[in-house]
């Protein structure tokens, strides 16, 4: 395992997480909205089949970084970027990368549940159907597997044809996770997935995240420090578009290297 080179503006990026293997490698990444810088010279690695949490105050750029990982910024014409992001060694901005294919490999779950206005079944099958015709039996199997994986199957198996909008918020969020799992991603990006949910639904989603990491690389953006401590293996602290400190979660929360980090996690932020 090579030790990542420390860059000038991200002193905390220095981490050795062997024996874990790198899934996503971000190197010297910066991003601007028009003239406004959002991320600057950011380098870190996301380990495979682990949960990595991005924490930091509002506007620190953690969601922007997350969206950069599956190129959702492509929609916005004002966005410019520098640096590289590699997924399993492949530059995601390379011209030969099909962005739709990339987004299948790097799935994303958003802050507010966004099920499509169709039945529960069709929501989960949506991504599969984009990949061309498939025998109905196979679609059925994958839908069931995805709903079981997101711990929703028992609650909805009798009403798969009901509108997805008839589910509760927590169920909707797990449905969205199931929908993403159905296309078989390698990486799952979660943008504050539990911030709109009640405590019980939040616990269910967190348990789901812990279960999923046996087969998936998860990246979690959260405002909730306890949540980051509960579910993540590694935590990156961002502030003002820069990576301040990146460490195994236990280390970062119990023994942060920098005072800025400590101030934030103990709530002494100015």
């Amino acid at each position: 395992m090579t030790v990542m080179q420390e860059t000038r503006s991200s002193p905390g990026a220095f981490i050795d997480f062997s024996p874990d293997v790198t899934s996503l490698e971000i190197r010297g990444f910066g991003l601007r909205y028009g003239d406004k810088p959002a991320l600057a010279n950011l380098s870190l690695r996301v380990p495979r089949h682990r949960v990595t949490a991005f924490i930091g105050p509002s506007g620190c750029g953690k969601s922007t970084l997350l969206r950069a990982l599956n190129r959702l910024h492509d929609l916005n014409e004002d966005v410019t970027w520098e640096g590289t992001i590699r997924l399993e060694g492949q530059d995601i901005h390379a011209p030969e990368v099909a962005v739709a294919e990339l987004r299948r490999r790097v799935g994303m779950v958003f802050q507010a549940p966004n099920p499509f206005p169709m039945s529960i079944y069709d929501n989960v099958a949506f991504g599969l159907r984009l990949q061309g015709r498939m025998p109905k039996r196979r679609v059925d199997d994958i839908v069931e597997w995805a709903l079981r994986s997101s711990a929703l199957w028992d609650e909805v198996k009798d009403r798969l044809r009901a509108s997805a909008w008839s589910l509760s918020g927590g169920q909707q969020q797990r449905l969205v996770i199931a929908r993403t799992l159905a296309v078989g991603p390698e990486v799952l990006l979660l943008d504050e997935p539990a911030s709109a949910l009640d405590p019980i639904s939040t616990l269910k989603v967190e348990e789901l995240i812990r279960n999923l990491k046996s087969s998936l690389t998860l990246v979690l953006v959260t405002h909730n420090m306890q949540q980051a401590a509960r579910v993540s293996d590694y935590t990156a602290f961002l502030q003002d578009g820069e990576l301040v400190e990146y460490a195994p979660t236990d280390t970062l929360f119990t023994n942060p290297r920098l005072a800025r980090t400590e101030n934030y996690i103990t709530g002494r932020m100015a």
Binding site: G107, A112, F116
Partner: protein
């Protein structure tokens, strides 16, 4: 025991004058609408009711029979006069008679008065003396009326069978003959059928009705000219209802007569609906694509901003301007060239180089385009960004995101646009006068003849029919009830078209709940 309490409604009532003002506005609008529909319904539908015929005896011994239409003050004097519709244009030269109320001695409703609807000369009002059959037999007295009814029924059956023969046997054969495909056998069948028609026509009852007006003039009326015969004063309510429904049905199903002042409006109903449907077919994909481009594809800069303002302002351009544009560009421009290229054999008589169904629908599609664009754009803008991102994050391309998520979600808004477009287009008359509507086009533009839908034909339109009957008919007074009925029908047609779209939209919305968040 606890009682359930609710907030007092008095609180709402005591909110002051503005609430009353707002409620008053709604009430006024509703009342006006009810008045409008009520007027149209009473005047229009009442026309078909077989009203009692009055026999009016005047002081000077003159007698007349007819229906009272209206009363007004005598010009330059006191007293009032009353207008009677007396029919009998062939005898009197007019179908109206003004009578001074003071001169009326007696008004009665004898049950032997008959009303005959005729193909020409308006209706006959008077008495039936006798029916003279072909063989010279004369049926008079009590048995004359039943004889007339019997013979009229027989005549109608005769006509129907001739019509069937023409439609089902002769026309297809003639078409094959024209196409040069007819075999010798078919030629023989054709001439046999034509011979049959000639025979049947010759066999039409040639009875003569001996009629007498109430003031004693005699008239010999061939039965073949009569379309309907009633004795309104002898009819019970049940019979009148039957006669009324038959009248309404004939109004809906037949073509116009007597320079659009009588008869039915079927070609106009058909033309209106067909034109609106074609217009929707043209405008919907075009408007939706334009809205998708403006909202989803185009760079949101100053140019799109100005294009949007332009589109919104296009909706305010007076419709006659679109008519002029359609005439210049579609009819003379494109139509003229089409004729030069494809229909030069029939020049100088134009095929597409004159107004017709196609150009009228296209002109109206252009007229309603801004409405569809604006409504669709609003629908697209209402779709949350999270839905689009959700689709993209699952590996959808932008095209897949549009067709599978965004457009289905915007469907109700698109239908709202189409509803507005239909409502506007169905009521437009001004541009149609330039690009294809006809005063009289009894042939509807759809028939069994290839290519079945004749886009080059002129067509009739309910709105234009009203305009024509009201301002260009010879006798506006006679056409007035039909104008009301046609106006009512126009409102109903638009209502039906709109309801269809509204039900469709409701169905789409109810499938997965509404976009409430």
């Amino acid at each position: 025991m606890m009682t359930w309490r609710r907030p007092s409604r008095r609180a709402a009532r005591s909110e002051g004058p503005w609430a009353w003002l707002a409620a008053g506005s709604v009430a006024t609008s509703l009342a006006l609408l009810a008045l409008l529909l009520g007027l149209l319904a009473v005047r229009g539908l009442g026309h078909f009711w077989p009203a009692e015929v009055s026999l009016v005896a005047l002081d000077d011994g003159r007698q007349l029979a007819g229906w009272a239409v209206k009363e007004s003050p005598l010009p330059g004097g006191d007293g009032r006069e009353r207008l009677y519709r007396t029919g009998n244009r062939d005898l009197d030269g007019a179908i109206w008679d003004w009578v001074d109320l003071d001169e009326i001695r007696e008004v009665s409703h004898p049950s032997d008065l008959v009303v005959l609807e005729r193909r020409r000369w308006s209706e006959f009002i008077g008495r039936l003396e006798a029916v003279e059959t072909e063989s010279g037999e004369r049926i008079s007295g009590e048995s004359a009326w039943p004889a007339l009814e019997r013979r009229l029924t027989a005549l109608e059956q005769h006509r129907a069978s001739i019509e069937r023969l023409r439609h089902q046997v002769i026309r297809p054969l003639v078409l094959r003959l024209e196409a040069g495909e007819a075999s010798e056998l078919e030629r023989e069948r054709l001439s046999a059928a034509q011979e049959q028609v000639r025979e049947q026509q010759a066999a039409l009852p040639k009875d003569i009705l001996i009629l007498e007006t109430v003031d004693g003039r005699q008239l010999r009326q061939p039965l073949t000219e009569v379309t309907d015969a009633l004795q309104p004063n002898a009819m019970g309510v049940g019979e009148k209802v039957v006669a009324w429904s038959q009248g309404v049905w004939r109004f809906l199903s037949e073509g116009p007569r007597a320079a659009n002042t009588a008869g039915g409006v079927w070609p106009a109903i058909f033309g209106t609906v067909l034109m609106v449907v074609l217009m929707s077919i043209f405008v919907t994909p075009f408007g939706v694509l334009a809205a998708v481009y403006l909202n989803e594809v185009a760079h949101q800069g100053r140019l799109t901003h100005w294009v949007r303002i332009g589109v919104r302002n296009l909706a305010g351009v007076p419709s006659i301007v679109y008519g002029v544009f359609g005439l210049g560009v579609f009819v003379y421009g494109i139509g003229g060239h089409l004729d030069d290229w494809f229909f030069s054999s029939s020049l100088p008589s134009p095929t597409f180089g004159t107004g017709g169904l196609l150009w009228a629908s296209l002109t109206l599609a252009l007229l309603t385009l801004p409405v569809v664009i604006v409504a669709t754009e609003e629908g697209l803008a209402r779709i949350p960004e999270s839905q689009r991102e959700g689709a993209l994050a699952l590996g959808a391309t932008r095209f897949e995101m549009l067709t599978r998520i965004v457009l289905p979600m915007a469907m109700p808004a698109m239908l709202t646009g189409v509803i507005l477009a239909v409502a506007r287009a169905a009521g437009e008359v001004a541009p149609l006068m330039l690009v294809g509507v006809a005063k009289l086009a009894p042939q509807v533009p759809v028939d069994g003849e290839f290519p079945f839908l004749h886009l080059d034909r002129k067509f009739m339109h309910l709105g234009y029919h009203i305009f024509d009957a009201a301002f260009h008919g010879g006798d506006v007074q006679a056409a007035m009830p039909l104008i009301y009925a046609t106006a009512l029908l126009l409102v109903l047609v638009i209502l039906v078209l709109n309801l269809t779209a509204i039900f469709l939209r409701h169905h789409l919305r109810s499938r997965h709940g509404t976009l409430s968040k």
